[in-house]
């Protein structure tokens, strides 16, 4: 009893103390060394989850910090991170200002994908890989699909992205991965495939890949993950860059293959010219333009392509608290699409499917297309704690098939599509440990295509969609950060039929140690079948029939992960990531052969499960002189539809990616990248009934080598891609490029 009295006495005595302020506030401004305020800089207290991002004036405020001695760190892409020690006193506001030094070496400090806002990678509660600018440049990457091949856990199946086994091979009709360009979803109006070539590659700042369901924030397309491409802002000083890529595919080494295609006996050239210029036009306006010309004679017969493309991005700041950004691109392309081979004895020529009917299906599709993208966005900073962004998007596609003489056929024989929409997002940070994101989107498409036959009197297929989303982040104590999110989507599949879905998610992040964070995520995901999956009908290239009654596929995903980062100054830096994941799918949409229709059709499988683990190790030694990355992914992808589980088609169980860059004397540097993937455990055997040897696969074993020489503003890089001339397929019946040499010249006058 005495103890109770003593406790009460102490509690009463402590009351006045509790009324005293116990927390401190940290504020300041971040500028570059020229005195310009920097927006979006992350300022964090090292070893805690306290942090904030600077506003449009470069100011930041972090409130409710327990008094004590801290290290405060300011970091932003394109600048050397800066740190300062600060002793915070209860009830006081301390100011720490930073002047950041620009660097040519980009550091993957800031990401925006995971939570629709800028935050340090340490605070992202889900697996994420970042490919920075220098990694893209070193590897001579000319298109996005090339870039994604270097990211651990990502596989390409032709022009489809497969993140941790989420997608197999779906005949280009649907994608479970969403591509975002500066936060805008990039979806083609016709097939929902990812338009890999429609990006200003020399103005890309970094590529982020969110692994795991992202539907709670991004809706239907993000069931299997998100690829976010961030373009650069304009610099203070004018910058011009010219990049020339030139190379050739080596003649194939087998006489039998060469005998069937004359082109395989010679080096097959390809080349790209990129010219880009960025500048500030006045104190409120700046931007960049980017032009690309690409010609690739192709390593296969009938795989030639030519592309002419222009992009422009303008940023206008009429007042201190308003920013308008407009990104637009126009692409003309003429390409032969090689769809499937003529068997393993003749893999360089497109195949033909002899079938009882009026004509045979052929394995090549020649087209000419024009695509236009317009992406405007307005950001208004209402107060240092509140801002909103209103954005719009418009994509237009006009695609015309080519006849035997290479002349475009009328547009009525091809595809005309529009996709348009808008979004409003509001960000509110009441305190440094809390962050609210809410928003709404609306999108629609109108597509008329010879691939989607008219059955109900409406030539244009459409699928309007609306959504509302919200997410709340809450720091709990010094070490925990919890996030909860919910998204509501409604899709109109037919005039009188809407499908609605609620996608909740929950994430937790725990800072176990200064260098170690643990994260856990779970979320529901869903994907509405694309217009192509529902309506595609074709016999010219492949027997495939429509299924307008397809249901949305849904998923429940879980992930546990850790990130460990150890920094020994300039001498060494190590980063280890480990993630265990599992996703259960219901009504998974996969192509299946329908005997009664004598064609393939997208159908809902009852159940599937994909689980596995992924580990990633990055090492930097002696500053930037030695860099390496090793990633390994183990996957178990099972189709649980039948009585006995079967492997899901076109998924590799083992996936390895390794990369190495080494600085040499005399301004030279060298590097190598190795990609290994085990042979898929199951191939859709029905596909092989139509295409000879379509069931043949081998493990993927690809080694790329490079050597660079830098002199002043000129960088010359020689690359040998697929250096071991290993012949393999990334998707059935399509031989991947053999060894090819590439010379890249990058010049910034």
């Amino acid at each position: 009893m005495n103890c109770i009295y003593l406790w009460l006495l102490l509690s009463i005595a402590a009351l006045p103390l509790q009324a005293q302020p116990t927390s401190a506030t940290l504020a300041g401004t971040v500028r570059d060394i020229y005195g310009n305020p920097l927006m979006g800089v992350n300022v964090v207290l090292v070893g805690t989850l306290y942090g904030a991002a600077t506003n449009i004036d470069g100011n930041y405020v972090i409130e409710n910090i327990p008094a004590g001695l801290y290290t405060v760190r300011a970091s932003a892409v394109g600048y050397v991170p800066a740190e300062a020690s600060v002793d915070l006193t209860a009830g006081a506001t301390q100011r720490v200002d930073f002047a950041l030094v620009p660097t040519v070496v980009e550091v993957p400090e800031v990401v925006v994908t995971a939570a629709r806002r800028a935050q340090p990678i340490e605070q992202v509660p889900i697996s994420l890989s970042v490919l920075p600018l220098h990694a893209l440049t070193e590897r001579g990457v000319a298109t996005l699909d090339d870039a994604l091949r270097y990211i651990p856990g990502v596989q390409m199946a032709g022009n489809q992205v497969n993140i941790r086994g989420s997608s197999g091979f779906t005949y280009n009709a649907g994608s479970r991965v969403l591509l975002l360009l500066d936060g805008f979803p990039m979806l083609a109006p016709d097939a929902d495939g990812i338009p890999f070539e429609l990006l200003p590659i020399a103005q890309i700042d970094r590529i982020e890949v969110l692994k795991g369901p992202g539907s709670a924030l991004y809706g239907s397309g993000a069931l299997g993950g998100v690829v976010q491409v961030i373009t650069r802002d304009f610099p203070e000083q004018p910058e011009t860059e010219i990049r020339l890529f030139s190379g050739a595919y080596e003649p194939v080494r087998y006489a039998e293959w060469r005998a069937r295609w004359e082109g395989a006996r010679h080096w097959r050239p390809f080349g790209t010219v990129i010219v880009t210029h960025a500048r500030r036009l006045n104190d409120r306006l700046g931007g960049w333009v980017h032009a690309t010309y690409l010609h690739d004679s192709g390593h296969l017969n009938a795989s030639e392509r030519t592309m002419l493309q222009g992009h422009a991005k303008l940023r206008w700041q009429p007042t201190a608290d308003v920013r308008v950004v407009v990104l637009s691109g126009l692409t003309w392309r003429r390409s032969d699409s090689f769809l499937y081979w003529n068997g393993l004895r003749d893999p360089l020529n497109p195949g033909r499917i002899p079938a009882s009917g009026s004509k045979d299906a052929v394995g090549t599709n020649d087209t000419q297309s024009l695509q236009w993208t317009l992406l405007p966005a307005l950001t208004h900073v209402v107060s240092p704690k509140l801002f909103y962004t209103a954005s719009g998007r418009l994509y237009m596609l006009a695609l015309r098939p080519l006849d035997e003489q290479g002349r475009p056929k009328p547009l009525s024989k091809g595809t005309l599509g529009f996709r348009y929409g808008g979004q409003l997002q509001l960000d509110w940070q009441p305190t440094s440990g809390q962050y609210l994101t809410i928003g709404a989107t609306a999108d629609a498409l109108a597509t008329r295509s010879s691939f989607f036959p008219e059955t109900d009197g409406h030539p244009f297929r459409s699928q309007p969609e609306i959504a509302a989303f919200g997410q709340w982040e809450q720091a709990v104590g010094l070490r925990w950060r919890l996030t909860g999110g919910l998204r509501f989507d409604a899709y109109q599949l037919r005039p009188n039929r809407w499908i609605t879905r609620l996608s909740p998610k929950a994430n937790g992040l725990f800072q176990a140690h200064r260098n170690l964070t643990l994260h856990a995520a779970l979320g529901l995901g869903f994907r509405v079948p694309s217009v192509a999956e529902r309506y595609i009908e074709n016999q010219d290239f492949f027997p495939i029939v429509s299924n307008p009654d397809l249901l949305p596929e849904t998923s429940m995903g879980y992930e546990l992960g850790l990130r460990y980062r150890k920094n020994a100054g300039n001498l060494a830096e190590a980063q280890l990531e480990l993630a265990v994941f599992r996703t259960d799918y219901q009504d998974l949409i996969e192509p299946r052969f329908q005997r009664e229709r004598l064609a393939f059709q997208f159908v809902n499988l009852t159940r599937a499960r994909i689980q596995g683990f992924e580990t990633l190790l990055r090492l930097k030694l002696l500053g930037e002189r030695f860099e390496s990355q090793i990633g390994y992914t183990w996957l178990e992808a099972k189709d649980l539809t039948g009585p006995a589980p079967l492997p899901l088609s076109f998924r590799s169980r083992h996936l390895f990616k390794g990369g190495l860059t080494l600085a040499l004397p005399a301004r030279l540097s060298t590097g190598a990248d190795l990609r290994l993937a085990s042979r898929p455990e199951r191939i859709d055997s029905e596909f092989a009934r139509f295409v000879p040897d379509a069931e043949v696969t081998v493990p993927v074993r690809v080694l790329d080598l490079r050597l660079s020489w830098q002199y002043s503003k000129l960088i010359l890089t020689l690359m040998v891609k697929n250096a071991l001339d290993y012949y393999y397929v990334e998707r059935p019946a399509l031989l991947a490029p053999p060894r090819h040499l590439q010379l890249q010249l990058q010049w910034r006058p």
């Binding site: 009882s356 390794g658 071991l724 393999y728």
Partner: protein, 153 residues
């Protein structure tokens, strides 16, 4: 550093195999495929036998099949009363650069007589086979709408 050299070495070793390659040379070629049956089957006594047949000529009637028997190749008997079946014919092209089949399809023996054969479904575009080739065919057969000989009205 040694670890990475070792890793690179492993990669080199792993890739030395070369990947995909043409199948070994063979004087044999194959003509294979699938036949999918739609619609109802006739009574058993009017579907006595089904075979895939490839002809080096275009037959005008059933008698041509008999008279030019050495100019055609045919598969084993196909299964009856099933949704689909597969067939395969192996052709020896030793000493021959290529062989052409102008008329292929499923032959249907509908009666007891020697000439009671007719085409059920036909692929009437030329198929050129070279040694080692593997040619696939996909046929859709419907007994309600059988094909007829070119010489038959």
């Amino acid at each position: 550093m040694r670890f990475y050299v070792f890793l690179l070495f492993l990669g080199l070793l792993a890739a030395c195999e070369g990947g995909l390659a043409p199948p070994p040379p063979s004087p044999l070629a194959s003509l294979e495929g699938s036949v999918y049956y739609t619609g109802p089957w006739p009574p058993p006594d009017s579907v006595r036998e089904l075979r895939f047949v490839a002809l080096r000529f275009v037959p005008q009637n059933a008698l041509d099949l008999l008279l030019r028997f050495n100019e055609l190749v045919f598969s084993d008997t196909l299964r009856r009363f099933v949704d689909y079946d597969t067939f395969r014919i192996t052709i020896d092209l030793r000493g021959v650069a290529a062989d052409t089949f102008y008329y292929s399809g499923i032959a249907w023996k509908f009666g007891p007589g020697l000439l009671d054969w007719r085409p059920l479904v036909v692929y009437d575009r030329p198929i050129i086979l070279r040694p080692g080739d593997r040619q696939l065919l996909v046929l859709e057969a419907d007994f309600r709408r059988p094909a007829s000989f070119p010489g038959t009205p």
